[in-house]
Symmetry: C2
Subunit: 354 residues, 2 copies
């Protein structure tokens, strides 16, 4: 398979973890006889420094012509005082919008060797393996009007969805569930919101097309509880933009491995942007300490969701898991036993095991 990948390392540890992901991808390409080509572009703070904008036009163009995009991280204290339209984060929001990425996929998986770092009791969180599918371009964060009214005496925001926007995210979630444990939890507030009632109707309609997937509806407040009391009950969760924003961040801290979480944001044709959930960690940038696993797992998600290479993705994921279970870890994981190693050694271990 021949694929062209745009790499946006960004700021801080972004460069180091991107290097790691590229090495892993090169190994996979050799092993499975694929041909991946790469093109590096600027985004975030580094783009402000070199181009005067967090999202240069050539970056957008390159991404639009790519089969997939890998992003490291953006931001740092150097750019914190800039006016808001010039912040590094605007580059990230801008590229998501420019690519029309409507589906945000956030997997959360517990690693047996890291359970001590979870805020939850180990027996409760052990075995958790869930995927939150969040609608990313509609809902309350984008609807209009969103403005002051009555001379500033009142304010309004608008939650708007078209049927088609709900259908495509629900389809995506069913497709994800089919490749996993075949259970879908649709989260809404259908006892109150009209948009949630339509959401629930569409899930009910769509489930006819995916008969092997079992479907459960859960109110968002109950979902916020059950993520904590029973995280292993979930497989795929699908929900609208704002609920997904809250629940995916809530879920991200459950397993104690926030630094290891990948994410994907997908366009309808399968092109996607893949990035770690963690930030640019300017405090440890350039020291060779950064944990490359979230970026490496993001590249595994790219293989699965943009290229359909499920076997290759699984190999990366299983390799990472076996190395963690052997006790190897980076400094951020704060482990009492096992062997602490740096970015390069961790990457080397993964590459050699593949």
């Amino acid at each position: 398979m021949k694929k062209h990948i745009v790499l946006l390392p960004g700021d801080g540890i972004g460069t180091e973890v991107m290097e790691a992901a590229k090495e892993v991808l090169t190994t996979i390409a050799d092993e499975f006889n694929h041909s991946f080509s790469y093109e590096v572009h600027d985004i975030g703070g580094v783009a402000i420094d070199f181009h005067g904008t967090p999202l240069p036009k050539q970056t957008v163009e390159a991404c639009n012509n790519a089969d997939a995009v890998l992003l490291g991280a953006v931001g740092g204290p150097k750019w914190d005082q800039l006016p808001s339209h010039l912040r590094p984060e605007k580059g990230l929001l801008g590229i998501r919008k420019a690519l029309d990425l409507f589906a945000n996929l956030r997997p959360v998986k517990s690693f047996d060797h890291l359970l001590h770092a979870s805020p939850l009791k180990e027996e409760l969180v052990k075995g958790s393996d869930l995927l939150i599918v969040r609608e990313l371009t509609g809902g309350l964060y984008f609807g209009t009007p969103s403005e002051r009214q009555q001379n500033g005496q009142s304010v309004v925001d608008t939650l708007f969805y078209t049927r088609q926007e709900i259908e495509r995210i629900v389809d995506k979630a069913f497709q994800c569930a089919q490749t996993r444990r075949k259970h879908l939890t649709s989260v809404d507030k259908a006892n109150v919101l009209e948009s949630s009632k339509l959401w629930r109707e569409i899930v009910e309609e769509k489930k006819q097309q995916y008969p092997e997937v079992t479907v459960e509806h859960l109110l968002v407040d109950a979902a916020a509880m059950k993520l904590i009391t029973n995280p292993t009950q979930f497989d795929v969760i699908v929900t609208e933009n704002m609920f997904g924003d809250i629940l995916s961040d809530e879920a991200s801290v459950l397993t104690g491995s926030l630094g290891m979480l990948p994410s994907a944001s997908l366009r309808e044709d399968g092109v996607g942007l893949y990035e770690p959930v963690h930030g640019s960690a300017p405090d440890i940038a350039g020291q060779g300490k950064a944990n490359p696993i979230a970026m490496i797992l993001s590249s595994a998600m790219m293989l699965r969701h943009s290229f359909g290479l499920d076997e290759e993705a699984r190999l990366i994921e299983e390799t990472v898991e076996s190395i963690l279970n052997a006790g190897f870890h980076t400094a951020d994981l704060n482990m009492k036993s096992g062997q602490q190693i740096g970015t390069v050694e961790m990457t080397q271990l993964i590459v050699e095991s593949i």
Copy 2:
């Protein structure tokens, strides 16, 4: 002090726990020389059975003339098949609305003796003592339009607030913080929502009036994380209706004592409705097993928030805590050690200790 209290026991264990709260209140009245009078009315399933509606007119009238209202719980399988306007829950929503209860107060406190029941690691949750102040009458759950549009091809809900609605809930939260540890966390999504920007401005304005309270702003997704990773950092949290719905339910499971949580819903003049967070538990109704503590703590909240009797409220709360710490518990707490007792014995113990 002379006060008139309406009691709405409702369904299931509502009757049993209401009896317990009344006994405790009678003891407090004797002890502190107050005169509390009571009037019992129907709500929920029992009101459907006797009056054909979950919220009879005489119940609303009585509540409107009361100094405060205590509510047990509503609902049960007997009424689950009725059309939605005739469900017991409609009685609850109806009375909240009829009384114009704009502030929902949900305290969450960990009890040292119950930490084993928490989903969180004990060292993390120990010492948690927070209060969520949720706006209850505005925001996304009540704004218009809330409807299908374009022949069912799209849907809209509306998040609307007046400046005055935000000001009164923020004032209430500052006042609560003043009587506690004097820290207020305001939760919003000010990086995206216009309503949250106004919310944050109002909190900033108001804090001038409460100089002894320290104020922190937190985005709702970050708040959903920090409630889990660092629950002891919070004192009072104030937030709008929907965010409060999600976060208060999330917070309710942190300490493992969901069956012990009280709540208050307040009107601007101080009249309030007080009820346990738990439901009517039809499976154990009438067996004398119900845990009366959430209802008793709800009556303590009534003394504090509607009657200004802080000393009396504190006495009830400290008594409950000391009895739990002595190892006494009801069946729901599922404890390995200590002594299991029923509703009447637990109430008796509390009454005798007061």
